[in-house]
């Protein structure tokens, strides 16, 4: 079993806490002049995204988590699993709905996604910062209608709903920022 000592702690290190794979967000060395030294760490649980704080005595060891992040291409869904592929090795990974989380609304075939694997199982999927998606449905924009601040809702091909300028029409390809769900621009199709 691989372990890390507290003096190896740093941001991004993957460790097992209470059986869950976690990533160290921040590590603070604490040492009262005359006292025991500690590591006070902020840790993100990679399964549910929750951040907790934990204190370790300096020099203690913690189990390492076999977590890797890789870029995989989205292929298709069979309704139960979402299938991704490593473009170099052609290896496929099946991702469950819970691991996929909110990313399902940004999934577009053949686009690259950041997939986190723990013991070779997918536990999280991050979309690229920007995706290009087609407008599936939006009402026609009325000329001079600025009551809504000049924007209207549009449903994209993946089901995501974003606010777009009034001039956007159904069938157009849009560039969207997945971090906040904001419309960026028309995509040059």
């Amino acid at each position: 079993m691989a372990t890390y000592s507290t003096n190896q702690f740093k941001g991004g290190l993957k460790i097992i806490i209470d059986g869950n794979p976690c990533s160290i967000v921040e590590n603070e060395f604490v040492k009262p002049g005359k006292g025991q030294a500690f590591s006070r760490v902020k840790i993100r649980n990679l399964l549910n995204g929750r951040v907790i704080e934990k204190t370790y005595k300096s020099g203690e060891s913690v189990e390492a988590a076999d977590v890797v992040e890789c870029e995989l291409e989205y292929l298709y869904s069979d309704g139960e699993f979402w299938h991704f592929m490593d473009k170099a090795s052609f290896e496929q990974v099946a991702v469950s709905k819970s691991a996929l989380g909110d990313t399902h609304k940004w999934l577009k075939e053949n686009d690259p996604y950041q997939v986190t694997l723990w013991n070779d199982e997918a536990i999280a999927v991050e979309p690229p910062n920007f995706v290009e998606l087609k407008v599936a449905q939006t009402d026609p924009g009325l000329k001079g209608d600025t009551a809504q601040g000049g924007s209207k809702p549009a449903t994209l091909e993946t089901g995501a709903v974003v606010r777009v300028p009034l001039f956007i029409e159904e069938g157009e390809l849009l560039k969207v920022d997945t971090r906040n769900g904001d419309y960026v621009s028309r995509a040059k199709g």
Binding site: N7, G33, K34, G35, T55, S58, G59, E60
Partner: protein, 317 residues
Amino acid sequence: MSTQSWRPSAGIITLQARAKLIQKIRQFFIEREVLEVETPLVSHHTVTDPYLESLQCQLTADSSPLYLQTSPEYHMKRLLAAGSGSIFQICKNFRVDEQGRIHNPEFTLLEWYRVGFTHHDLMDEMDAFLQLILQQGAAQRLTYQAVFLKYLEIDPLSISGQALADYALKHGINDPGLDAHKDDWLMLLFSQLIEPKLQAVTFIYDYPASQAALAKINADNLAVCDRFEVYAGGVELANGFHELTDAAEQRQRFVDNQAKRKQQQQFVPALDAHFLTALEHGLPACAGVALGVDRLVMLALQQTNLASVLSFDFQRA
């Protein structure tokens, strides 16, 4: 290795400001006729403190181990016992495994001793010193008990170790394996819940007798000792004592330290015979304090980490 990692971790302007502050520190003591001394960085002995680890080195492959000092305290007290009068020193010290935002394994201490001073006299002098260096107003003074009551509503002298563990859990601090060891819990809670609130210069005094280290036990209250610490900007800055002069009691504290280190399965250093013999010869009544110079400079220059005031931090050393 980045192509920029040869560069200093502090800017040149910061190093110029640091040099000015060090000059100011020297001037403070020269004006008060306190003698500047230098003592060895490499010693045949090291401290028995349960939570201090010294770096070992050797002169030749087959010689016995030597130790880089964790503080100049024992050598300076030997000078005092030999009749030096009041002394000060600015020197490097080394502590194993102490690395972080406000820790560097090699760091600079200012340590000074005042013959005939009590720790209260020394706090007065320290206050004047910090007003000069940090350009701030007079410090506030609180007893250890008062600061716990003020911020945590806990009496640190009467509470049990288990009650402290329960309190910590309620405030989001898990037990890192301290069991019910009261002093360890007090120090952890202090560092996590009180220290960040001590932004203005604050003296904490009357520490529990169990945390006396090299301080006298208080003559009027055996539950506390004549030790103080200084905090500013949420950082521990200095530790001072009305110095223990009783050689027999000092020896007993060292033996207790050795027992604790043995129990913790740590390296157990031999007692420093030179130091104990000097105490037997007679240490004049005095008070002394050690202050982290790098941290002081960091606060004076409104920085938030040590690296930014060190020419080269440990990563670049």
